[in-house]
């Protein structure tokens, strides 16, 4: 059974190599490539479901080449799989499958590299989820990074893709090298690269400066991947230009993998050693709130549909970080369920935007106003997904939001629910405004913003020209994903199942024992104890309230010119355009400056607090 674990990474890698090697034979037979890629991704999904089900009674560990630990000292490299990371890997493989099915008819011409890169990307992401070795984590981080940079610049003949890919690659590489420095330092201190071994070595001592510095440095790469303010700038540039099926993976899982990395590094290595101080919660909460607020505000003012969805992802990354920062099993449960729901729904939204681009040849909300009336099915899928994104029950997202809020209440942080609600209303309203304006022609056409019109008009050559009908292979994936988000939300016992996984994830002693001496821990215990996961009336009311408020705000955004209090000719937020342009400047030099500032602030805060 355990020997299945490496297959989840090996299968897509071998398939990618095979596709590249056989390119001369099959290069012109595109359907063969499509079919091989889809079948590989589907097989990996099935494999990961089997692995996920097998973790229900405990963690699974696989040692490469049979290098099992001797006398509790890890020499080899291991995959350590529990409910949460196998669940995240399954979500990854599912979205890759959906994106590849969507690509069947989406691209006019497609080169071999697309399929090979998608499969390498899949292998990198799955490996990142499953590995139990910190250097291996870095290697998979870079593997998925390189595949992602190349996919971003899939159309290198345009300005935008080059800008997006360069910004993405340089910021993420700087983050990765800072992480690697942290890994080098912690290896110097502990002589180990296995996460369990490192955790065991630094537990029980007073944390010294070196451990804190290593922790902060390792966080840098993960925070960049997770697009946490002030490391988030690359995300919108990369999302705006990557092919739409690739955006599905960037938003749906890659960003979330950064957050998973933070949780993994914290709970498997540093948590016990640093003593689970309140200061760590405070720093991560501050980052999460800043990210949620910045993402929501930028999302609401966007007219470029892909960038709008990208900023919504930044908002959600902040909310997930808040759930992780609480350090409770229920907070982590909420974040995990939120990630599943968000991944499915955001993928459906991006795929719907892909259909709009395919049919109407634009992603500019202003241009598209009312032109989506001929896309009734896409419209319905988009509206449902938009409502789900605004936490409407019974889609899975409201459960995640509700549990993070409940867990915040239990830790006397009552304002967390307010933060989640306000930012979700802004994001939900932005997406619903698009839905109403584009697909139903509601409200007045928005006034033309020349800068954004220019940006969005270059976004046309992904599909050659506007098509007259939507192929079934393009509309089925988003519809199925929305249905899946609904099904997850209705799953009985979902909270208890995920919280079991969260408790195991947070029991560092059990993780160490399972990995290093092969012990079977039937009943792990978390630091702060599990909480009640029943769905309360408050959760449902909060969810419905958020959705209704989003709808109202969306209608106000569509009809604001007719509101009696506002005069014609008044543009809300017109004075903010310049500072916003200077903040999100689109130049990588500024982004790296912000990263250095972020490193100094986070490092300073943690060093001061943990000392």
């Amino acid at each position: 059974m355990d020997s299945l674990l490496p297959l989840a990474v090996a299968v897509p890698l071998v398939a990618a190599a095979g596709i590249s090697a056989l390119n001369p034979l099959f290069g012109h037979r595109r359907r063969v490539l499509d079919a091989v890629a889809i079948l590989t991704a589907a097989a990996v999904t099935g494999l990961l479901v089997v692995i996920m089900l097998s973790t229900a009674d405990g963690q699974r560990v696989y040692w490469f080449a049979g290098f099992t630990p001797s006398h509790g000292v890890a020499l080899g490299i291991d995959f350590a799989v529990d409910q949460l990371n196998s669940g995240l890997a399954t979500l990854t493989a599912t979205l890759v499958t959906a994106a590849l099915v969507f690509s069947w008819r989406y691209f006019e011409r497609v080169s071999t590299y697309y399929h090979a890169l998608m499969l390498v990307f899949l292998a990198g992401m799955v490996g990142f989820c499953l590995t139990g070795d910190i250097f291996n984590l870095f290697v998979f981080f870079e593997l998925m990074g390189v595949a992602a940079y190349a996919l971003t610049a899939y159309r290198p003949e345009e300005r935008g893709p080059l800008q997006g890919a360069l910004n993405f690659a340089i910021t993420n590489s700087v983050g990765a090298y800072l992480s690697l420095s942290g890994i080098g330092l912690i290896y110097g201190r502990t002589g180990a690269l296995n996460m369990a071994q490192i955790g065991q070595a630094i537990t029980g001592h007073r944390p010294d400066g070196l451990v804190v510095v290593a922790f902060v440095l390792i966080l840098m790469g993960l925070l960049t991947k997770a697009s946490i303010v002030p490391f988030h700038f690359w995300l919108a540039d990369a999302h705006a230009v990557a092919p739409t099926p690739v955006c599905v993976l960037f938003s749906g899982v890659m960003v979330e993998l950064g957050l998973y990395g933070i949780a993994r590094v914290y709970w498997s290595m540093f948590g016990a050693g640093l003593g689970h101080r309140d200061a760590i919660t405070a720093v991560l909460l501050a980052l999460g709130i800043a990210t949620a607020v910045v993402g929501a505000l930028f999302c609401f003012r966007q007219r470029h549909l892909k960038r709008l969805l990208a900023f919504s992802t930044i908002n959600h990354a902040g909310l997930f970080l808040i759930g992780i920062a609480l350090l409770t099993p229920l907070g982590l449960t909420g974040a995990a369920v939120y990630v599943i729901g968000h991944g499915l729904i955001k993928a459906a939204l991006f795929l719907s935007v892909g259909i709009v681009l395919h049919r109407l040849g634009s992603v500019n909300e202003t241009f598209l106003h009312g032109r989506g009336r001929g896309l009734p099915v896409t419209g319905v899928v988009f509206v449902l997904a938009a409502l789900a994104l605004a936490d409407l029950p019974p889609f899975a997202l409201y459960l995640g939001a509700g549990w993070i809020g409940q867990s915040g209440d239990a830790r006397e942080l009552h304002w967390i629910t307010a933060v989640i609600m306000t930012t979700s209303v802004l994001v939900g309203a932005a997406v619903l405004r698009v839905a109403g304006g584009v697909f139903y022609g509601l409200g007045d056409p928005p006034s033309e913003d020349p800068q954004m019109a220019e940006e969005a008009s270059e976004e046309t050559s992904e599909t050659d020209e506007a098509k007259s009908r939507t192929p079934l292979s393009m509309i089925v994936p988003p519809a199925v994903l929305v249905a899946a988000a609904l099904a997850v939300g209705l799953l009985p016992q979902l909270g208890d199942l995920v919280q079991d996984g969260a408790v195991r994830f947070q029991d560092q002693a059990a993780y160490n024992a399972t990995v290093l001496v092969g012990a079977h821990i039937a009943h792990p215990t978390a630091l702060l104890g599990p909480e009640d996961t029943s769905v309360t009336t408050t959760d449902v009311v909060t969810g419905v309230g958020t959705a209704v408020a989003s709808l109202v705000l969306a209608l106000m955004a569509l009809y604001w010119r007719r509101l009696p209090v506002l005069r014609r000719g008044f543009e809300p937020g017109a004075g903010l355009v310049r500072p916003i342009r200077r903040f999100q400047s689109g130049v990588v030099n500024d982004y790296v400056t912000w990263m250095v500032v972020g490193l100094a602030c986070i490092g300073g805060a943690l060093a001061f607090a943990i000392r």
């Binding site: 345009e158 690659a169 230009v241 940006e455």
Partner: protein
């Protein structure tokens, strides 16, 4: 082990970051990224270094001879491979930018802002 290699690491890393931040030329910027990465090689090798130790080949020397840590050397080697991939890709982007738009200035390549 002296503190000196780590001072060099911090200095090389800072110099590389300063270069990335101030550069107006993509190729220069990419080379600065390599400089940042070079600091990680020094760090890794510095972590595993032992004064007076030999290279870790136990072919014709006694098994208890002090040797430098071979693990960090393996890590540095992997790091070099990663760097080669990333750098090649980035330079390919720079070549494309120059071919299509005749510029290597990140600001002139900008399409999105705000």
């Amino acid at each position: 082990m002296s503190i000196f290699p780590f001072v060099v690491v911090a200095w090389v890393c800072a110099v590389g970051l300063y270069g990335i931040i101030t550069s107006r030329h993509l190729v220069h910027q990419i080379v600065c990224l390599i400089v940042v990465q070079s600091s990680t090689y020094i760090l890794l090798l510095g972590v595993g270094y032992k004064t007076g130790a030999v290279a870790p080949y136990f072919y014709d020397i006694p098994l208890n001879t002090p040797a430098v840590d071979p693990v960090v050397q393996a890590l540095a080697l992997t790091d070099v491979v990663v760097e080669a991939a990333v750098t090649a890709l980035l330079l390919a982007f720079a070549v494309q930018a120059h071919k299509r738009f005749g510029t290597l200035d990140p600001e002139e390549l900008r399409q999105f802002q705000g």
